[in-house]
Symmetry: C2
Subunit: 274 residues, 2 copies
Amino acid sequence: MVVLSRGGRDAASNESAKAADIDKEESDALFTSSLARGLMVLEAFAQQPGPMSLSEIAGIAGLNKSAVQRLAHTLLKLGYLERHKNGLTPGRRVLDRAYDYLKGSPLIRRSVPVLANLRTSFNERVDLSLFDDLTIMYVSRMHGKPEMSHAHLIGRRLPTYCTAGGRAIMSHLPESEVLDILERSERRKLTSRTATEIADILSLIERAREDGFAMSVEELLIGDITVAAAVLDAKGRPVGAVHLGGGTGDWSPEEFARRAGPLALTAARELSGD
Amino acid sequence: MVVLSRGGRDAASNESAKAADIDKEESDALFTSSLARGLMVLEAFAQQPGPMSLSEIAGIAGLNKSAVQRLAHTLLKLGYLERHKNGLTPGRRVLDRAYDYLKGSPLIRRSVPVLANLRTSFNERVDLSLFDDLTIMYVSRMHGKPEMSHAHLIGRRLPTYCTAGGRAIMSHLPESEVLDILERSERRKLTSRTATEIADILSLIERAREDGFAMSVEELLIGDITVAAAVLDAKGRPVGAVHLGGGTGDWSPEEFARRAGPLALTAARELSGD
DNA sequence: CAAATCGTATCGATATACGATACGAACGTA
DNA sequence: TACGTTCGTATCGTATATCGATACGATTTG
């Protein structure tokens, strides 16, 4: 019997917890729940970034105190947790694992020179994101003008439905899959200009399909304008996007699209076809 | 009984495996070895970044095939591993955990504007690293001139003994601790100019103690020159370093020290004392 | 000073992870 | 075509490692 309380599971993964998943896991002889529970302890810090006590972790992860005691003890010893004065925090070891991921990814490896060149020819923010269902995850950033670098950390996730990158990606997906994503997305207005109606988003995606790149003007952050083009794998499936970002103070949307769009598209094509 | 084969343990952690650790772990009722074994599966990718089969993982991690089958199955389901055509690779979930770490760290949070300003006033590479015994780990980078950005990824570790940051950090440690670090370090010549003799390194550290910052000229990479100052916690213990890097084509070591040294020191002080 | 909460330690029961084994598919070679 | 290897996957009886209730001293809080 695999004991995975609903609360803990939902807390851990925001998207992949469809209704059927739980049934699957319950009848899964190969599933090692000790490992899953240990990871739940780490995942608790997604909900509360700061230091936490064992009981707090237990509450968020949906585990009893004894389990958290043992699992945290183990993670502490292995460096995946660290002891601070106010409680436990994630440990530096997690960055080692992230490094392994980045180092092992051919896409990310190849992207370094391409993005660096892109930043040379266009002195603005350059990002690479990976497609992951309802979110896109930022994995690489080359800063443009320092005044525009609001803290974007590696591993940050943003919604697929309202980002330029997400829409560029969706423009390479079949309609049914796009609708599935949009319907499952919690489409909130992050700014007053965020497109949240499915019809509106579909027409923006259609536009992106024609242009080869997508644009988002102040939909995530006032003052920010982003253009993005999708990176495809060998089979033509979108796996990520190249983003170029600038400030509305420096650019009109039309100018930005004219200048940045083709650059993003070229770079994305260069990275495509692993 | 905690079954942790020597090979697997060593593979996983390069520094914290002192002789006593194994005895400790053997008589540790709280240690959850299933969790540890699961993490060993992930840690295998530190040795071989690319896609691996179950057997390959088993070989590197020092686990039998059945264990890897179950653990990998679990990690796969949770997103910590991904399936590629040639085998398994780390999954995007590991980047989520890294994000939690970065987001939860007050030092890293505070460093973003400071490093951005630093890059404004000094148009070269700016890094933040964290001290971790024999290595320092890079956690933040602001790129300078694109032509100088060789791929430095988040989570990369470099030796403490031969980096400017490491020596800046050691200049704030008691002599006994410095000697301990130097003696346990495998001091190799990474370039012809790498300082490897303990006496030489100690005098460089002494120099750093006087100046407030350390310098490393082509000790890691020919053509590269780095200056760094240590970031201290509230108790005055070094926790990391601010690095400024430039090219030997653009700077003489003396010029670079005169210009970059004080900037690194100021930034490091600004980040100190949490 | 009492109550709550912290981290830590102990321990018996049993659910759980273990690992040997088997099987079909895919691949490369003879 | 046939064979040998290695892959991923599935099964299962057993031993034990994990479980979770419980207890304790130290701190903190009201």
